[in-house]
Amino acid sequence: MKPTPRGWAVAAIALGLYVFANQTQVGWLYVFSALAAALWLCTFGIPGRMLRRLRLARRVNGSALGVDGSAEYADLNPAVGDELQLTLTIHNAGRLPALQLTGADTCPPAPAADRNQPFFINYLSGGQAATLRYTVTCARRGWFTFGPTPLATQAPFGLWSATRVAPVDGPDGLLVFPETRPLARLDLFDRQPAVETSLAQAGTGGEFLSVREYRPGDPPRHVHWRTTARAGRLIVKEFAEEQQPALTLALDLRRAACLGGADDNTLELGIKLAASLARHAHERGLPVRLLTNSRRWPAPVGALSQWALLSYLARVEAEGDDALADALRQVSATPGAFVAAVLPAPDPEAVAPLVNLQRRGLAVLAVLVDPMPFTGDRGLGIEVRRVAGELAAGGVAVRLIGAAPDWERVLVTGEASVATEAAA
């Protein structure tokens, strides 16, 4: 706590009046000097005491839980573009009122203009709680931590000022998913039936594979009675393992794949595209596997739930220089499977493995992001079109997505938007 310039002025006035009072022996000047000094002294400590008894709590969308993207709290994860309602409660746990409280609540996922929310509370009685509500739109994906809130006051007359960085009870952080948009229909999944195929191994499928002797634990309904009667011992039916075709979603996370500004770049669009593709696949009942070339953010193994995938996509950032082509070559050529490769930047090395996968019977879709609207570099625009041409020549379905706002329509229809064509 420290005196403000106004406080110093009052102290100087008190001293000056005292000097003049001694010079003139005017009793009233002694009184006014004493009053100014008493005012300066009486207001000392008031601001600090007011701030000390304040307790803060924050709620995000009404919840005090730390939303970390786990399945249990799935419905609390916002996505980019979603509205967040934040509630900041300031409780005066002291007996004396708190006056003229100023502070600023910071909401990291909000746009820069809305990130800082300064507030002002004129009067808060002892035991009273003030609730401040505001709504922001999530502008960025990622994990955001909520920090303490700075408080300040110069009550009651602006002679002394006190500040305090108050801890806030509430969510430690917030995971914002990338934006996903519904896709009307994607012909990638229409090119071959997404049917289950039986494998030549025992499993839990419905197709009869063979018979064997009973083992403890086999369900009684699997007993093959005819063979059992003939053999004189319990014989059970054995069924084949079924495998469902999956979508392998490949995403190029090289550092060179992030072209454009800090928040508006090809990688962000690529992540939106990947999330939307995954969403569409899940809606079609297809498992989704993720394939990336990031060492810092290795893709989870196996089929991922939508939330697990969004949780991953919410956190990833561009890093490293490993080519996606190396990862693509590791994709098993399971007939009937699907591959969607999202390339935020032109990657000529990815052409060959994608074409190869296409020739091996997989349905391959290459989604290329046109860097030119993000960078203004016509050279990159030409290069991405060349890569698209090579892929198309190899039989791979290609989508070239620019900075158009209706990119989900372009993803589905393959028709470039007017803006993209004009840029090209």
Binding site: Q25, G27, F32, A57, A93, P97, F119, G158, D169
Partner: protein
Amino acid sequence: MRRKGPRRPPPPAELSGRLRLLAAAAALPPMLALGWVALVWGPVLLAALGLAAGHYYSWRAAARPQASGWVRLAVFVALHLALALMCARLFAAGALPQAEFALFAQAITSFDLRTRRNLFASLGMSLLTLYVAATLARDAGFGLFGLAYVGLVLAVFYAAELADGRGRARLRWPAAPLAGDSAAATRPARGLTPALGFAGALAVATAAVFGLTPHFAGRPVIPPFSLDLPIPSGPTSRIVNPALPLVQINGWSNATGDYYYGFDSQLDLSYRGGLSDRVVMYVRSPAWSYWRSHSYDTYTGSAWRQADEGTLSLTTGGQGIYYAVPSDTQAEGEEVVQTFYLVTDQPNLVFAAYRPTEAYLNTASLVLDAGDGLRVGEAMKAGTTYTIVSRRPNFAEAALRAAGDDYPAAVRAAYLQLPDNISERVRTLAQSLTANAPTAYDKAVAIRDYLLTIPYELYPPPQPPGSETVDNFLFVDQRGVCEQFATAHAVLLRSLGIPTRLVAGYGAGEYSALSGYYTVRSNDAHAWTEVYFPGYGWVPFDATPGWTPSPYTAPVQRWLFSSTLQGLPDLPLGAVAAAAQALFGVALWPLLLLAALVMVLGAVWLFVRAWRLRPAPPAGFSALDGDRQRRRILAAYQAGQQRLRRRRAGAETVREFARRVDQPAWDEVTAAAEQAAYRPAPPEQRLAERIWEVVRRLKRAG
């Protein structure tokens, strides 16, 4: 010259109407105070109207992108016109031209109050106006204006904080008043108690600082910005003293008119008549004293006069306003700086506490007469101000008793004179009163004490023509006024061969600790005696009943509580005091003390009531003290183990321990402990209370 860096943007205009209104209101109490103390209501009214117009214009002009250059030019010109007017009124002997300039300046500058800094500067100008009014205030009523000003300035500060906070905030609370919100109706009342508490604390702190701050009687300082201008001589000449440390314009006069004695050239003891209570002058002094003007050496039997008309011209000490007053006696003791403000025209006598050593007054000549009185060359007009520095002598009884009777020849010749018509019974009385008094001091005290037993009467019977005053006073009338008491004292002592003279001047007057003034009225005019003691000079005695028997200048009072009686404020409550006396039969002060006690008790009751009625924390508002609830539940878990007389093993989980205990109540405690330990959300206060109740009812596990 190359500019360093980008030009700073101009400060924003102040757009808060509330703030401007409060600032304008804060300027009014000092103006009204000045009008009240200086009786300059015409300029005050004019300035107030100008102030209101100026603030209104400034408020409307603040919304414009830039300040008007024409308005600023007009303000500049108007200020200089007001300054010229002030100078003109100085020469024309106006009442308080400088105070009027302060009023007009504030009104003129109110037209250019664009930013908040300008508004605060106007508050500073108001403070200067209040300062001027404070130097002229004479009683406690001025405090109401000061309190009003301070209260409004604090309101301005509060409004400024409010405006700043609201202006910067995107979120406010409360956002908007809710319809039918009964809580809003109670909110102002809840804020009243803390405000009253703060006001009370402020009052106590102010009184403590005021009472515990020493008051140093500063010497007059001649400010470097003091100007000497010729003021036409004659009846309208004024002598202004720079004791008031503001910009001083000193008028000087070359008048060297005939000196004359005054109050009068002689003191006629046969005069009968009372004096009015008209204020003659105000004296600012850190010490109580009589204000001595002159003395008489020759008694004629019915009058006193100064036979020795010799004077000693005093020289200036620089800038024409400093005179060193010589003294051939021991001038010891501390300095007493007194400033005299003449309210009515006075003769050419300079009043001072005994013994003056320096005089600060702007005059062409200052002389010391044979009776140790100071005189200037012309009559002093109302409004004259001057300062005297005196040395307070220390007259110890033992020292005066040991002074002896080796009087200088000049003193014997001048101050043992008696007329031939002093009666024998007067001389015999003197002998009989001092029969047991071994020293001159004892004789002076004995005679004085005898005279103090004679009743004082403002209108004694007329003195018969041809009679001797002292004989008539002591043996015929046996009552009288101060001149008769003093004359009797002087004559009786002279008859014993002790040099004595009669002194005239004023009594101290009424003192106000708040204003610092002694208010001296016409009926404070007084006469007393001075007795000569070798080595100590003239020592004052007062033989008049109801006055101060040994009127030595009191010690300088640096502290408020130095003198309880003089420290009490002199409230203009004469009618109220009379009413209190009539209604309650007691004096006013006990009632005031009782009222103060009631107020203190009332404040204590309010505080206790507010303490008891403070709102309890909302139940279940657990999110704000989640840590505390967690600790409570975990403490309950520990306490429960003690009640069960069983303890969880180190490698045992709480659920394994619960299965071992096998009590439903303990399962409940276990679930709460798990929640407190592992769940991100803090537990509810109700849960913690519930678990403690469960723990208290636990039975020892089998």
